[in-house]
């Protein structure tokens, strides 16, 4: 009898581990930036290159920082959601236009709608590296003290927005 139960037991334990492993997403790398101050930068604005955007300008308010590009296919997936969110005026969305061209970026916003209060141009991707960006789109929630509280890699889904981002924003806005 033991001969039969031991392999079966090992098999069951292995199955549970492997099943759990299947559900994990290897692309979701825990960001070391959570609860760290948002890296500072000073970049030209997309719409008006004479003006700049810096995280320091946004101290005192909760904001969403969204990394996007006109060449990014997955960005289209989350874009309607961001446009809808910006209409609700719950929280300002700032964009980081990542490794993109000004003309392409402006045309893309014109075509798909502009949910961003402002977008900063990160043409060489240096700021993206500082924010640990590796899979555009990425979305950060940054609190009143300029600390990163949440990071979403890949498109924001309605579920993530409803269950994680909005509750967190409400809590941070106090």
């Amino acid at each position: 009898m033991r001969r039969f139960f031991l392999p079966l037991g090992i098999f069951l334990v292995l199955s549970v581990f492997l099943a759990a492993g299947l559900k994990l997403d290897p692309r979701e790398v825990p960001s070391p930036l959570i609860d760290k101050p948002a890296p500072s930068f000073q970049l030209a604005q997309l719409q008006d290159s004479r003006k700049t955007l810096a995280p320091a300008d946004l101290k005192g308010k909760v904001w969403i920082f969204n990394v996007w590009a006109s060449w990014c296919v997955a960005c289209l997936q989350e874009h309607p959601l961001l446009v809808e969110l910006s209409r609700q005026n719950l929280v300002p969305i700032y964009g980081l236009n990542y490794k993109d061209g000004r003309d392409n970026a402006l045309a893309w916003l014109h075509r798909h709608g502009n949910p961003y209060t402002l977008s900063a141009m990160d043409a060489d991707g240096q700021v993206g590296i500082d924010y640990g960006v590796y899979g555009v789109p990425e979305t950060y929630v940054i609190d009143k003290d300029g600390v990163i509280r949440f990071k979403q890699i890949g498109p924001v889904t309605p579920k993530v927005l409803e269950q994680k981002i909005l509750p967190l924003v409400r809590k941070l806005q106090g």
């Binding site: 070391p32 991707g125 640990g132």
Partner: protein, 157 residues
């Protein structure tokens, strides 16, 4: 004829065009070697199962340039590794550091080895006990001897 000449001319012009792309390596082989050695130990986050050195993803190329310029600025390998970990986490390191969260990763194989060795030793000892504990009755012993003798005769024939 003219077309062939043109083709030959184009072929002669090709090599220097290709050589241009490899300029960074040629400029400073020692630096380039250091870049390759370090980036071979860093994971490309876009393609995950490739190292930064192997990957041609946009981000990997940017990060390689980053490593190169930091080395030129006199940063040590450890400092550059720290720079990467601060942005992408321990996940970028193919050799993760020993920390409470990675203790199982490092010790796991050895724990399994020791457990396997102990199980094997335990099993072998019990098996030997079982084999040496077999008692034969006089009849069985006599029968075994007959069988063994027959076998020996078989063999010597």
């Amino acid at each position: 004829m003219r077309r062939i000449t043109a083709l030959l001319l184009m072929m002669m012009l090709m090599p220097p065009v290709c050589a241009n792309e490899a300029v960074p390596a040629a400029q400073d082989p020692a630096l380039e070697q250091r870049v390759m050695r370090l980036t071979a130990e860093l994971r490309c986050l876009v393609c995950q199962n490739q190292s930064l050195a192997d990957s041609h993803a946009d981000l990997a190329i940017d990060l390689k340039n980053q490593v190169r310029s930091q080395m030129r600025a006199g940063k040590s390998d450890a400092e550059i590794r720290e720079y990467m970990v601060a942005r992408y986490g321990d996940f970028v390191l193919y050799r993760p550091p020993l920390k409470p969260t990675t203790a199982l990763l490092w010790t796991g194989p050895f724990v399994l080895l020791v457990a396997g060795g102990l199980a094997l030793a335990f099993y072998l000892r019990r098996r030997r006990e079982r084999l040496t504990q077999i008692e034969l009755t006089p009849e069985q012993r006599a029968r075994a001897e007959i069988l063994l003798r027959a076998q020996q005769q078989d063999r010597s024939r």
